[in-house]
């Protein structure tokens, strides 16, 4: 279908655009940037900040460029005096309502309102400051997210994110007029409502109204303490996102530089969450095969299938709130972060001859929900807090800047050993579909003795950015002990973004779906689009990050979890066997039913 081209003039120049294009996009295509605040590429058009107003000849009023489609012959002025004056007024109004204590703000330097105020050189505040007229309390109850309404500009990006991308609706608009605000059910703290801590609201907030709770100072203190042995683990998606905060284009792989930077920050040991990602595949794959055996051979009616992945703590909290009747379908495996934490204070401590009480376990995650996960009361299986501090990719970038490290100039370094070894299968945990792909690479080979029947091990049906992706793998000629799986078509589904998780769960609930294995990642694009990743995010940026993840996978010498030498050694020396007794104690967990508000 060809779209009809129409003629419009933009600031006096004739241009051709597709019929129905919004003025904002038409201008962008033609090299004119119109400022926006409430607009976000991931979200539906709200048209409520009014910063993007433009003048259309013949119209008495200005039009919101984000919400006004181009029409044949339209004469648009994006920078007329009337536009400039109005826009300036609107920015001034927003500033008057905003707690503009910029120097003390976490988003100082990365705030869209600040940027706009700077662009329009708002040097005076003529309007009356409204913040002192209102009572604001900062919600700091959540271990992941801080919500400060005094910095809110009511653009509702967070509300649309929570509803459209995540289907959670923890954040919503209440009251009207001057009292209108973004709040939760009954104005409860974020920690007491259905919030999954995914942090997508943080990623989409233009100001400092929603930020992650940062633990930077705590980590600096631990590093400075000579009695402490500080171990850091880095999640797969951090290495391909970190660069964006430090001067690289989206999609740049910076694994070596990141490891080098972490060493310079003073961590005693720089290790890789990919290692426990591989371990997760061993545990979760074994668990899945076990459940299949129970269902197909033992005909156990109580076996819970489909089995769902449990790596994404946002997803875990979501299902605890929304589908608690399906908690039994979750894999009991802890996430790679928590497996890592539990092993650091047991296996690693023993091997390195360290007192586990003196180990501080830090993780760098693309995620804010990981902060909540680490703080879960049950995550003490090592006898200590398995993971002490969780930092987001953004927080790591801040530490690197604070340490004065010239990141682009760093020589690449390698992870330390013992829990630093990883495979391509571990890396792709960072992209939606990655866990599924890694699991299939291993499970198929365990069952059949052959590699998955996909060129270069690339299981393309589970890759991509489609919200819900189904795939099936037919098992033929399995090994003798897996004979019951002969000709079984393993049905898998992958979903990312909780709104898509809802689609999958509803189809499971209705009995329409006959999946065996479900992978769900709470965030759009998987961890690479996580709530702790660099801001901004957009479909294009996430696509670039995904390409980097898969390039990283392709570059690895070993690309199957069960071939991770350190994982093999771990089983031999410590755990004995997947899903064994020690595994169950350290690497598996249980879930909690939660209220649905």
């Amino acid at each position: 279908m060809t779209t009809q081209k129409i003629n419009i003039t933009l600031n006096g120049y004739n241009v051709k655009v597709d019929k129905g294009t919004m003025i904002l996009d038409a201008a962008k295509e033609n090299g004119i940037i119109i400022p926006t605040l409430c607009y976000h590429k991931d979200l539906c058009v709200a048209g409520n900040c009014r910063v993007c107003v433009v003048e259309v000849a013949g119209q008495k009023r200005l039009s919101a460029a984000c919400a006004t489609p181009c029409e044949e012959g339209m004469e648009v002025m994006t920078n007329s005096l009337r536009v400039r004056n109005s826009r300036k007024h609107i920015i001034e109004l927003l500033l008057s309502e905003h707690n503009a204590d910029c120097t003390k703000c976490y988003r100082n330097g990365s705030c869209e309102l600040q940027e706009l105020a700077s662009e329009y050189k708002i040097m005076t505040q003529d309007f009356i400051e409204l913040v002192p007229f209102k009572t604001y309390t900062i919600d700091m109850f959540s271990p992941s997210i801080i919500k400060d309404d005094s910095k809110c500009i009511r653009c509702q990006r967070c509300v649309r994110t929570c509803s459209e991308l995540q289907g959670v609706n923890a954040l919503t608009v209440s009251h009207k007029g001057d009292l209108m605000k973004i709040t939760t059910f009954m104005e409860k703290p974020m920690s007491a409502v259905v919030c999954t801590n995914c942090g997508q609201c943080v990623n989409h907030c233009p100001t400092g109204a929603l930020v992650e709770k940062n633990y930077i100072e705590e980590v600096w203190e631990a590093i400075a303490n000579p009695d402490k042995h500080v171990v850091v683990q880095t999640a797969p998606a951090v290495r391909i996102g970190l660069g964006e905060e430090l001067g690289f284009m989206p999609g740049t792989r910076n694994t070596g530089k990141m490891v080098a930077a972490l060493k310079r920050l003073g961590f005693d040991s720089v290790l890789d969450t990919d290692f426990t990602a591989d371990l997760t595949i061993m545990e979760e794959g074994t668990e899945l095969l076990g459940r299949l055996k129970k269902a197909l051979v033992d005909k156990d009616p109580d076996v819970k299938l489909p089995m769902a992945t449990s790596c994404s703590p946002g997803w875990i909290k979501y299902i605890e709130h929304m589908y608690p009747e399906y908690l039994g379908n979750l894999s009991t495996c802890k996430s790679p972060q928590q497996m890592f934490g539990a092993l650091v204070k047991t296996y690693y401590a023993k091997a390195r001859n360290l007192d586990p009480s003196k180990i501080v376990s830090v993780s760098i995650m693309p995620c804010t929900a990981k902060k909540f996960e680490a703080a879960r009361p049950e995550m003490l299986d090592s006898g200590y807090r398995d993971v002490d501090y969780v930092l987001t990719t953004r927080e790591l970038a801040i530490m690197i800047k604070q340490a004065g490290i010239n990141f682009p100039a760093l020589e690449e370094a390698k992870y330390d050993r013992l829990m630093g070894d990883s495979t391509g299968a571990g890396v792709i945990f960072g992209a939606t579909g990655g866990v599924m792909e890694a699991a299939l690479r291993t499970a198929y080979e365990i069952v059949t003795g052959r590699e998955v029947p996909f060129a270069n091990l690339e299981i393309t049906p589970v890759r991509g950015m489609e919200g819900v992706r189904e795939a099936s793998v037919k098992i033929e000629n399995p090994k003798k002990e897996w004979a019951f799986l002969d000709n079984v078509e393993l049905k898998c589904v992958v979903a990312h973004g909780l709104v898509n998780a809802k689609t999958v769960m509803d189809s499971v609930k209705s009995g329409k779906a006959d999946y065996h294995f479900i992978e769900i990642m709470a965030c759009p694009g998987g961890c690479l689009g996580g709530g702790g990743q660099p801001i901004p995010t957009s479909p294009e940026i996430r696509k670039k990050r995904a390409e980097a993840i898969y390039a990283e996978d392709a570059s690895m010498p070993v690309r199957k979890s069960h071939e991770n030498q350190e994982v093999i050694k771990l089983y031999k020396d410590f755990l004995k066997e997947p899903n064994g007794e020690l595994s169950h104690k350290l690497l598996h967990t249980k879930y909690t039913r939660r209220e649905r508000f």
């Binding site: 609107i90 109004l93 003529d126 009511r154 009207k176 007029g177």
Partner: protein, 394 residues
């Protein structure tokens, strides 16, 4: 001055002849096109205040192909100083319902709603009875159209048509981006005709007596009659049906208390006209040929010399500060700034020149706010501040 006294009373709306069945059956025997032409030739314009040609609205909706279409009667009468729709629904509800059925016939709708203002809950039981009568009749003649009452919850903004749809859909009552307009994309995304209560009542008159009778009343661009809700410093507050196009001077002769200082035309979102401009101001829709002409949803508030215009404005702004839906910046923050601004000037915390900054802010609000609410705050603000500047300062 008294020689130009030309206030023309009329009595159509409340004339109670109880003949809706005959009127309706005649309507239903006519073609859609015929009825639209009649309505267009009457030049009836929306009586809610915005003044969009009613016939054109019906025409657009009738020409669209859609599986669902809706007729909605906007009875969310929230403008301060207007109370005529309540009276219509209380005294002649069948006229409104007849017109809704006519509209359904014209555009091909199967469902209609009366969006009733939260505070008018007491009207609901009687209204339901009349609806039952209608449904009985429609069933008899095999005309498939259901009318329901949808209760509003008291938000002023829900009188804005797209906010009203959102409210009906169970969402927050927040105005939508326009375009698309309701005739194309209204309730549930379907083509919708939404008319004010009084507009529908006039439609009854037009279909009963013919467009010409209506057209011959009023003046050019402002045809027909209009209900006025008269309140304030007047010896005879109440609802009056008058021909459009009268001069405000004449209006004040009739309704003033001899000491009228100013008249607020069109409620809080309308304009304040000071005494010196009464003679030059006509009440009706803006046209190319007339002079100053003020539209109104019917609210006429008279103020005498005992009133402080500062207090009047303060009161309006407090209303808007609270009743803004809060979604768009110019309206949400603008209303707060205007209110705090005049207070600051009054208290001497801001110089008198700050009023000019606020006036320029209202210009911005007028051209950038998302809906009519934010756009029209400028009306009362600038007309009061410009005409009674000294009362704002001292």
């Amino acid at each position: 001055m008294a020689t130009s006294y030309q206030l023309k009373r009329a009595d159509f709306i409340f004339k109670n002849e109880n003949d809706w069945e005959q009127v309706l059956s005649k309507i239903l025997n006519r073609t859609s096109q015929d009825l639209i032409n009649e309505l267009i030739s009457s030049e009836l314009k929306g009586r809610g205040g915005a003044g969009f040609p009613t016939g054109l609205k019906w025409k657009v909706a009738s020409e669209l192909e859609a599986p669902e279409k809706y007729v909605i009667c906007n009875a969310d009468e929230g403008e301060p100083g207007t109370f005529k729709d309540r009276e219509i629904l209380e005294r002649v509800p069948y006229k409104v319902l007849t017109a809704m059925v006519a509209c359904a016939h014209v555009i091909g709708a199967k469902e209609g709603y009366i969006y009733l203002r939260g505070e008018y809950k007491f009207l609901e039981p009687e209204l339901e009875k009349v609806i039952d009568e209608f449904e009985y009749y429609l069933k008899e003649i095999n005309f498939d159209f259901k009318i329901r009452v949808f209760m509003g919850s008291g938000a002023y903004i829900c009188g804005e048509e797209t906010a009203l749809f959102e409210s009906m859909e169970g969402k927050r009552g927040e105005p939508r981006n326009k375009p698309p307009y309701p005739t194309n994309y209204g309730y549930n995304g379907a083509p919708t005709v939404i008319n004010n209560v009084e507009t529908l009542a006039h439609t009854f008159t037009i279909f009963k007596y013919g467009a010409k009778k209506f057209y011959d009343l009023g003046v050019q661009y402002s045809r027909g009659t209009k209900l006025f809700s008269v309140s304030g410093d007047t010896p005879k507050p109440g609802i009056y049906e008058l021909e459009l196009g009268m001069s405000l001077q004449d209006f004040v002769f009739e309704f003033g208390d001899g000491d009228t200082k100013a008249v607020q035309v069109g409620g809080a979102s309308g304009f304040l006209v000071p005494r010196k401009k009464f003679a030059d101001t006509a009440i009706g829709f803006q046209g190319k040929l007339t002079g100053i002409s003020l539209p109104t949803g019917g609210s006429m508030m008279l103020f005498n010399s005992s009133r402080s215009m500062y207090n009047v404005l303060d009161n309006y702004l407090e209303f808007f500060r609270e009743e803004s839906c809060g979604q768009c910046t110019p309206c949400r923050v603008g209303c707060q700034q205007l209110l705090l601004g005049i207070k600051a000037v009054k208290r001497g915390e801001k110089p008198a020149s700050y009023l000019d900054k606020l006036l320029s802010l209202t210009e911005t609000m007028q051209v950038t706010a998302k809906c009519g609410l934010g756009q029209s705050v400028a009306n009362s603000f600038s007309s009061i501040v410009e005409n009674f500047r000294e009362e704002m300062i001292y």
